[in-house]
Symmetry: C2
Subunit: 379 residues, 2 copies
């Protein structure tokens, strides 16, 4: 903890998340100077453009940086800023929209948790299908030692955190409120568990309430922290789609899990999958294939059962098909039905018989022995 | 009907569908010469490579071309060959795998029916979901005057034909057996209806039974006839995937309709959608967008309900969000919560009040009038 932490903590009180004017001013003048100007009555530096300083100054009477830092420390948390050893440098991709700092709570620094992480997000009103698929996915990711980053909300977010925890994984909840605020209320136990084993993180100081704008800006942090964003269920215009598109803008993988086209909860995912640079996946292994290191995390290609004709050359398949399963016929009939020469048919029948695929029957007639074939019944 | 029809009808009896050696020989020597050689005892021309002539000659004793042509004529059908006015020239894209000729039955020549057509194919074991979606899709295509081409099988194929018929459209069943053979048996009435209003078509002469090889080769005709192939439900290794990949090889659009990732019947579609050059769609309009003429058949972009914050500038949204819905607060509180200057807040509140989004309350106090605001409750 140093002077820069204190200055940035104070600035985090004054600015809303995603304030690129603030980000530009910080980049040019540093946190001390920006804070000094905002605490004075003077004009703002040019990076703030035409922003009214009163928008920041109206908040100067709020809790002090020392109060906020003490509150978070009391909860066993910390405030990390760019340049810290534990700063998640992938957030630097956000440019001037990079958070001023991050308030963290939990045993795993977000930098570590997020190094090998996937964001799993979706509708608050997830269906049973979406909840099931999310749970499977998050467990699978946990099993492959991938962290799950999500937003702590009801529905898909909650299923993602729970699945990761159930799979023994690390999960990160990026909040749109202070890390000491329980939102949504019904997730009090879930958020407590995440705080005990993973990380609760926010760019908003303790005590702050969520708002729509904060949810939207929070999504950019989810997108930037992780190697890719998976959307499980999302209605048209769902916030999860904003997260996914921000991930795409940041060069992260954008991944969707399809569902029934009859379900409004999948309509947003399908819209996303119809856009460029979006990948359809059906399993954790396929997600990892997209976000993993090239050649390291290849998913097994799904395959159906092997069938007899996969093993046979085309000619033998034709002959095999020409042998009826319900009666025994002679080679000439088989040749005609298969459209194959007698010699070919004889060779194929010998192979098929050796493989147990046809059964030969021999009948003694006045003209000598007559051989006929019947298809062997298999599975 | 001319000599070439008779020669090609005879050759259609001797060769199996998709015989590229036969196709090459026809291209070089023409049907009369190829038929003459096969009817003789001599060696085959070099295009046949090492193929054993007995494979063809074993079938020479079967029904004559005249018999076959008479059989189909009796059913109100016809035999069309390359060069005919009614030949579907899109089949020429198959190169040497082009059918020797097509046996047609029904009032609409396949050439006409297929000019503006989409193949809709899928699993024989379609689920209720798949059947429903296929029906909706085929009706929608029919409503937009697109024909539906399919294979006449149980499951998705059947739903595609039925949906097209229900929508008043033209539908084409491409069979892997003679056009006089009812296969599958349970589709006797459906096939009869297609024959009455659309087209039954096959490259196999009358009386021929289906076989696995014939199903596989039939798929290339479905793929080549239509502008694109839509796979609705398909297990891994389903024949519908063969049709789709043949369509891709032919430069046609390959389209998949997703389903639950938990359903084996959708696993093949999802596998297809993970390949290059495959489009995910959710409606007939989106299918038409892919197969239609550029700029002519654009699907409407799906959209969710418009929300208040879509209409407001970001600053006004922030102010609106800072006005609580359950109690009335003063402008100073709103400014602090929104992080906005008093002047901005005053301007935004005036706009929001004019728009009916906030309600002003005025209380007389000893200090004079006090104005407070409360968020107006809107759905």
């Amino acid at each position: 903890m140093n002077e820069e932490h204190i200055a940035r903590a104070a600035l985090a009180r004054l600015a809303e998340p995603g304030d690129t004017a603030m980000g530009a001013a910080l980049r040019v003048h540093g946190p001390h100077e920006v804070l000094r100007v905002l605490q004075s009555d003077g004009p703002l530096p040019p990076e703030f453009r035409r922003r009214d300083p009163a928008g920041y100054r109206v908040r100067l009477g709020g809790p002090s940086a020392a109060d906020d830092l003490a509150t978070v420390a009391r909860l066993g948390g910390r405030f990390v800023i760019p340049g810290d050893r534990h700063w998640p440098t992938q957030l630097d991709d956000l440019g001037d929209a990079r958070p001023i700092g991050l308030w963290e709570r939990g045993p795993v620094p977000v930098r570590h948790a997020a190094l090998r992480s996937v964001a799993v997000v979706g509708s608050r009103a997830g269906t049973d299908y979406g909840t099931y698929v999310t749970d499977e996915l998050a467990r699978g990711l946990a099993g492959a030692r991938w962290s799950v980053v999500s937003g702590g909300a009801y529905g898909i977010d909650g299923a993602a955190h729970r699945g990761s925890l159930a799979g023994g994984g690390t999960t990160v909840a990026v909040l749109a409120c202070g890390v000491d605020v329980v939102y949504p209320r019904g997730h009090d136990r879930l958020l407590a568990r995440i705080g005990e084993t993973g990380t609760l993180v926010s760019e908003l100081p303790p005590g702050c309430s969520p708002s729509r704008v904060r949810f939207v800006e929070r999504n950019r942090v989810i997108a930037a922290l992780s190697r890719g964003t998976v959307v499980v269920e999302a209605a048209l215009r769902s916030g999860a789609l904003i997260t996914a598109r921000r991930a795409r803008d940041l060069g992260r993988s954008v991944i969707g899990i399809p569902g029934p086209v009859t379900a409004p909860q999948s309509a947003g995912v399908h819209q996303l999958l119809r856009e460029e640079d979006t990948y359809l996946v059906t399993s954790a292994a396929e997600v990892i294939e997209h976000v993993g290191l090239i050649g390291e995390d290849l998913a097994p290609r799904p395959s159906g059962p092997t069938r007899i004709w996969d093993q046979l050359p085309p000619e033998a398949t034709r002959v095999w098909e020409a042998v009826p399963p319900n009666r025994s016929v002679d080679a000439e009939t088989i040749a005609r039905d298969a459209g194959a020469a007698a010699q070919t048919v004889a060779a194929c029948l010998a192979d098929l018989e050796a493989g147990g695929l046809v059964t030969r029957e021999t009948t003694s007639t006045e003209q000598g022995e007559q051989r006929t074939w019947r298809r062997t019944t298999v599975n």
